[in-house]
Subunit: 209 residues, 2 copies
Amino acid sequence: MAPPDTRTQILDAAEHLFAERGYRGTSVRAITDLAGVNLAAVGYHFGSKAELMSAVARRVVEPINAAQCAGLDRLLAGTTDPGAAELVEAFAAPLFDGMSVGDEGGARRSRLIVMILSDPAEEVRGWAGAGQDTVRERYLAAFARALPGLSPEELWFRIRGVLAVTAVDRVEVHQRPTPDCPSPEVGEAARHWAVTFLAAAMSAPPTGP
Amino acid sequence: MAPPDTRTQILDAAEHLFAERGYRGTSVRAITDLAGVNLAAVGYHFGSKAELMSAVARRVVEPINAAQCAGLDRLLAGTTDPGAAELVEAFAAPLFDGMSVGDEGGARRSRLIVMILSDPAEEVRGWAGAGQDTVRERYLAAFARALPGLSPEELWFRIRGVLAVTAVDRVEVHQRPTPDCPSPEVGEAARHWAVTFLAAAMSAPPTGP
DNA sequence: GTTTAAATCATACGATCGTTTGAATCAAAC
DNA sequence: GTTTGATTCAAACGATCGTATGATTTAAAC
């Protein structure tokens, strides 16, 4: 059994706290306390709080980006151009994978992604750049072929809608889960619901002038 | 012409800065500097930074809530039950109203709403409570009648999708506006696109088991 | 002109922040 | 056993934060 690596313990604790309280709402001291390591360890292993955030974000988002890319590759390898529903599924699935009901880690990762995408601080949003943008542009091109009737502007608007739903929908954008409806459903059901919802939205006829 | 009320100037400056840098990213000093008033004025007029945030949020969200409520009332006054498309329109329209292209204030208000809905700090998300929840529950009931085939869980999932799109979609959840596509389109076009997008999504057949 | 309450002001307090420092500890190499 | 480089540690730095204080100014009432 490998000894609990200090570096990894910091990453885990930071992932927890960043997801829960945001970047600015989390102090380095809170992270090192939760990790059970010395305060200076963050500076030693990562250089600064911002670089720690970047490392945390990378560890969470990179597998998702890769899976989205692989899904698109698989579709494009087929004989016919993929339809909107298939594209939606390939794009959304990685965000729901490995997050079975009650999976605390999955819900936490969702919150973290939302936090990364919506944080006003440049340090938080700025890092992703390359990978994220590449994936998005590839899907944009694929959708453009699948939905030739749409103007580029409206297509782009819809892509942003897909992003908003997949990223935000599974965590409580609203204050808290309403009592009569159980907490955010994760896992298979939510993934299918999202694909249904988004495929219908993407396939809607172009808005008239 | 009424003299520039200190209270109002603080509210305006705070709305600016909260929208741009978030709650924790904005210092009271930055607000009073921008407003051109003394540092202690925030404590005097609002009591604390948190209460100032609450006042800013209330000023932005309350008219929207009222308009959403009025729109639903108007639909329910009709002879037949409103359809999903009408409900989507009534819900989304107030979020797009008064925000013509190039309206800086409108874009700022959008960012602020997203910031309120997604901020991890309880002080920011906690205040809205009553009004917001009431509106949402009323729309939930109306949608339930319009879409009888949906399970309550999937209906709730879709409502959350509508929220995510209307709230988030018009600001750059993504890092920055891509160069080839102009910055977030506000105004008429975006509103129609959103209604098309969301009406199709809401009206999708129930997801099979 | 005096009184009175509201408002604004300069200033300071205590707390917490991210970061740095230099000594102490550890483990493998020699 | 000593050396060496990597790691951990307690402590402190300067900066900034939200808030409180008490004096000062303003303006209307009398």
